[in-house]
Symmetry: C2
Subunit: 556 residues, 2 copies
């Protein structure tokens, strides 16, 4: 019988976190323990690390996700373990999970099989409280904003033009659209409102791009929360609460250190959406890993067109360091779906579908090469893959002249990724000349055009009347020199989630732009992006339990 | 210039928390560190403590609070420090602060002056995340409940009869009354709803009365969240999520260990409202302190009529240990307000008002003696108190033949409470015969009558039509053998907050009863109790800031 992730995790002995910190050359007085197996790095500790040289950076991304699953986090963790098995000093930098999906449909989000980060129960539940601090900071802004209006509204804020929503770290569709302030004049000002899930908060994006507490405070002050009756932007700075909100985030901003099953040190810190935000773990954690290790393996959300593009065009600018190699994760199963198969038809061998679906992987490879970066394809093997399918896929990759490796990290941990690790190390030694997809000084439509034509393979862009008006207004406000954060379906290169594979000649509609001045990007919405998930008919929570000593069960 | 609380706190060196644990005889492997100065006791550690004998228990309570301030927490902390200075092994058990009031009007809530618990910034902000876990647990129940209705409503729940509200740990009047589920059928079921502040959640009360994780789970399962279309109660157990909700609370339930400025070990754990709930720190923390120390000093919320009565009639039953002595805190200033002075008139000496206001203290002394417990009055001195006022008050106490002591713990720490400590130790050695105010088998109206007539000094009770119907229904449900938790204004013995001093002959109206079956009590509402505070015109948050290394300022 196959063991579940939590069973494997609970059967794995953990080393005390001071030992893991020591492996990364981080002194005891540079960490604050959260129990025996979790720690945060102090700001003084980060300043100390800052003096060291950067190691190599490896970005793990993927083909467009499908319901068949790709295992990007699992490959990221397994690759880190494999690099350590080869004698390199490697670290992993990942996003931290949101509780909502854990309680809903997804279960755990800390890798899988023998490529997991521990303690998986804690990481999947409250961890060190970062998401709670972000929830609280977000909602404190909302409460202080509504209180400002209630208490006389000196800033002349138009309650109909507030764009700052409240958040909870749960899947709660009931809160998507509400009317608040009801009942009596002592209960505030009645207005339409709504809740997002915490990871969709701009605070999360700001948090993940901030380079220090001071930088965080400066970014928070710039967040636009709404508009005045005469249409001027109202910011967190205008409310005079940037200091208090930063104070609420002062511990959360310290990167969290944990370990893999094999004892590889891992930073797990921050986790913004990869559609309405940039989808990468914190800049501070990635920076710290780069300083502490010779090789840092990190990942970006969703596929290479969405999270990968944002890592390279948004996060890299703040990190001041580009990846030395990029791993693109693909599976036979997912490629067969991109080739037109339904999820129910995946068990049977189907070379034709696989070859058709290769078009998706093929375009992602070309896209990453456009940035001037070396690529290694990781084929994450599943037991259902047939030898003929694997052969067909490797034939295509040989023809493509791209480095690739078959990995079995789910089943074997680092031992299942040694070949991948060797190829990745070789790739980081290739000469590379990184270039951004666009210059910040390009106009907003020019930047969007670069992403749509060079990455998505689209033919044209339609801007709604609203988006056109906004572009003119943003230009006037001086907001046009920011990078673009595309909010698009993760399932397709296009804005139509049913167009799998590698669609061509399509038009992308930009419905609306959203200024995220704290994060420092302009979100371009291509459709309705769901920022508050719902729960399924049988939520994962129904299986969860805990015994009298605190041991969790039923968390998958 | 007088130093602020945060300045005094930040100038006080802290001992590492392992050293504090050792003082309490708690081994290193029985704690989980949260940074260097906070720790939680593991369940295995609690089981180990369970084998020891109980020390003496000292309950600190007060006269009815006034805007003049009484300093109950400050006296509790100073008394603990004083007991240690006298060579006793003492511990303190306090409630943990709610962030909402800290960001609003109140500022910090971790004692004051030289009688504080440290690190005060952490304790006042996120601490070890307990309140966030409770918020999440509360809101997960709400999301899972609304999802159940949305997904087909197998339990036949009437959306108009849901009594489970969502919570945030902020003062946010805008959320008091809302309509949720709006916009489209995919957004749930439109219904009236609202948010309370986290400390008003029944989860908080359950959490503070639970004796183990298993007991917590059993209590959570009993919580009534609403009613079916045929008026049957719907519980958390019916939703099949008691395991998941307990899992969310598994770390929070471990008591938090910190230290006072003088290094006295203190448990700070749980903090329910003292009107709609029982207003005491957790049973687990108090139990652990009793086992770890010779003297445990703890407090109850608001005055002796509200928090004190509930400590004795609700918490004591779960604790299986009654106080060995009760300290009643009073100040000259507050007694003058009870004697009829306005806050603006307190600076001038006024013996007449003081003597009139003594009636309030006098009744509280008699009340505690009814329970068969020794009383010591602590007069918490203020610099504005005149010698004649102090003399007048001590004359009254001498006449009353009650032990008393003048304390200066705010200014001097434990050294300002040595005389109090000696008198308290002597009191714990007096013979005492504790008896509850009522038997659990008394009927609901009998129990309410006991509290109103024996504690409040009221003459009669009026039950609303609704309350009468409820009493019959609760009797039928088998809920009538639970203790009563009175929800009454804290400012007066009566249900009219303007009646200060010691009013007599009044009637108390019981408007409504609320079954809190998880907590294990029936709340009797005597008026509108505000369960979601608002923010003032200039919230405390406007003063808060943090520097680049994480040092907080502006937290009072």
């Amino acid at each position: 019988m196959v063991k579940s992730d939590i069973e494997i995790a609970q059967a794995s002995p953990m080393r005390v976190i001071t030992e893991i910190a020591a492996k990364a050359g981080i002194a005891n007085d540079a960490i604050e323990q959260y129990g025996n197996y979790k720690a945060k790095i102090t700001f003084a500790g980060l300043n100390e690390l800052e003096k060291r040289d950067d190691g190599k950076l490896i970005l793990v991304t993927a083909i467009n996700p499908t319901p068949a699953g790709e295992g990007k986090s699992t490959v990221t963790i397994g690759l880190g373990d494999a690099l350590n098995q080869l004698g390199h000093q490697a670290m992993i930098a990942l996003r931290e999970p949101s509780l909502g999906p854990v309680m809903g449909v997804k279960g755990g989000a800390a890798g899988g099989g023998y490529a997991q980060v521990l303690p998986m129960e804690d990481i999947n539940l409250h961890f060190t409280g970062d998401l709670h601090a972000i929830t609280t900071a977000n909602n404190a802004i909302a409460a202080l904003l509504d209180n400002h209006i209630h208490q006389g509204n000196d800033l002349n804020i138009d309650p109909r033009r507030i764009i700052w929503k409240r958040v909870v770290d749960l899947n709660d569709r009931q809160l998507r659209q509400i009317i608040g302030g009801l009942g009596s004049p002592i209960n505030g000002v009645p207005r339409e409102d709504g809740f997002d899930i915490t990871v969709a908060s701009e605070i999360m994006a700001v948090f993940c791009l901030a380079t220090s507490l001071d930088n965080l405070k400066a970014r928070l002050a710039k967040i636009v929360v709404g508009y005045t009756y005469d249409r001027g932007p109202v910011t967190v700075g205008d409310l005079e609460i940037a200091g208090a909100i930063t104070a609420l985030l002062k511990d959360a901003l310290k990167p969290n250190l944990v370990q893999t099953i094999e004892g590889t040190p891992a930073f797990i810190h921050g986790g913004p959406f990869a559609n309405i935000a940039h989808g990468c773990n914190s800049v501070l954690a990635t920076k710290a890993a780069l300083k502490a290790a010779d090789f840092t393996v990190t990942e970006a959300g969703f596929g290479a067109d969405l999270g990968g593009e944002k890592f390279l065009d948004i996060k890299t600018r703040e990190l001041a360091k580009h990846p030395d190699a990029v791993v693109i994760v693909a599976t036979v199963r997912a490629l067969k779906m991109h080739g037109g198969l339904a999820k129910t038809d995946l068990e049977a061998e189907n070379i034709t579908a696989l070859q058709a679906g290769f078009a998706n992987l093929n375009r992602h490879i070309d896209n990453i090469k456009q940035y001037g970066l070396p690529v290694v394809v990781a084929i994450n093997e599943f037991v259902t893959d047939t030898a003929a399918e694997i052969q067909a896929l490797t034939d295509l990759l040989v023809t493509k002249q791209v480095a690739f490796s078959l990995t079995q990290v789910w089943a074997k941990g680092g031992a299942g990724g040694l070949d991948l690790a060797e190829k990745v190390v070789a790739a980081t030694r290739e000469a590379s000349e990184f270039n951004y997809l666009y210059a910040l000084t390009d106009s907003i439509p020019e930047k969007i055009k670069a992403i749509v034509t060079k990455i998505y393979g689209g033919a044209s862009i339609s801007f709604s009347k609203k988006a056109q008006t906004q572009m003119t207004a943003f230009e006037k406000q001086g907001w046009s020199n920011l990078p673009i954060c595309m909010a698009k379906t993760q399932y397709s290169f296009s804005d139509d989630q049913t167009l799998l594979g590698a669609p061509e000649g399509f038009d992308i509609t930009i419905r609306e732009l959203v200024p995220k001045l704290g994060a420092g990007f302009i979100v371009a919405l291509t459709g309705d992006i769901m920022t508050m998930p719902g729960l399924p008919k049988k939520p994962a929570a129904l299986n969860m339990d805990v015994d009298n000593l605190g041991n969790i069960s039923g968390l998958f």
